[in-house]
Symmetry: C2
Subunit: 180 residues, 2 copies
Amino acid sequence: MEQNLQNTMALLARTPAALDALLRDLPETWTLRNEGAGTWSVLDVVGHLIHGERTDWIPRARVILEFGETRAFEPFDRWGQERESEGKSLGQLLDEFARLRAAGLSDLRAMNLQPKDLERRGRHPALGIVTLSQLLATWAAHDLTHLHQISRVMAHQYEAVVGPWHAYLGVLKCGGHSAP
Amino acid sequence: MEQNLQNTMALLARTPAALDALLRDLPETWTLRNEGAGTWSVLDVVGHLIHGERTDWIPRARVILEFGETRAFEPFDRWGQERESEGKSLGQLLDEFARLRAAGLSDLRAMNLQPKDLERRGRHPALGIVTLSQLLATWAAHDLTHLHQISRVMAHQYEAVVGPWHAYLGVLKCGGHSAP
C-alpha cells in the first residue's frame, strides 16, 4: 500500500513553520518543562526532530536506493537529541530544523522518485523488510506523533490549574503510548 | 492554585498562527477525513474552536465577573461547530478563528484582571463551582487538547501506509481519551 507522495511532502513542508508559530519566544513554562524524570521537554522534542533529519529519513532513503535489502539501516539513536540540543536555545533549534527540513525535501525532489521506486525494499535493523513508500510515509507520521507529544507535554504543565475541567480535557488523560 | 496569566495569553495568541501554518492549503486527505463515523475531521475541530471563542471563554468570564456563583454558565454545545463550519472552507475558518481569538484576547486585556479577580468564582452547569483562573487556564489547555486531536486525526490517515513502523508511532495508539 502506497501513500500519495505529494500529500506527504505537503505536510513535511509545513511542520517547521507550524512549530515556529506555536513555540518561538513562548515562555519557558511551556517549552523547558517535561512530564517527569526521563521524559522530554518541547525543546528535547525539537532536538529529536533535528536528529531525525540528519540521520534517519533521507540517509535511509539513500540506503534503500543504493543497497536495497542487502544493508540494514544504522539504528536510530532515540537520545541523539541530547547532542543536538546542547547549549542551544529553542529559537536556534527551530531555525536548524527548518533549514534541515528544507534541505531534506530538496534532496527528496532531486531523487525524482517514480511509483516503482516507492516499492523498493530495505532492511530495518529491528523491523525487518520495509519499503521506501513506508519510510517516507513514516517521516510525515513521525512529525504528527511529535506534535501530539508536544501538545501533551505542554498541557501537562496546566494539569493542576484547570481545576474541575480536568475531566473534559482528553490530552490530560493521554498516557504517551511510548514505543515498546 | 492559579496560573500565570501572561503565560496563558502567550499560548492563546499563538494557536491561530500555528494552525494556519500547519493546515492552510494542505491536501484534503489531511483535513477533511475523520477517524470514522461520529468523529471529527480537522475542519470540524477548527469549527469547534470558533464556536468556543463565540460562546464559551470570554462570555463565561463575563458571567463570572457579573453574576459570580448566582448564575450558571450556558451549557456549551459540543456539536455547535456544525453550524460554524457549514458551507465554509478551511481557509475561511482559519481566518475566522484568528479574528475571533484576537478579539477575545483584546477583551481579556480590557478586563485588566488583578490577582484577586482570578479567585472569583462561578458556576459550571455540570462541574459546579469553578474559578475565573481555572476558566482561563482551561482556555489554553483546550487549544492543546485539540492540537493533540488534530495530530491524531491526521496521523490516522497514514495508519496503513507506514507499514511496520506502526509499532513505533505513539500517536497511532491514542484512543482519543474522549470526555465521559
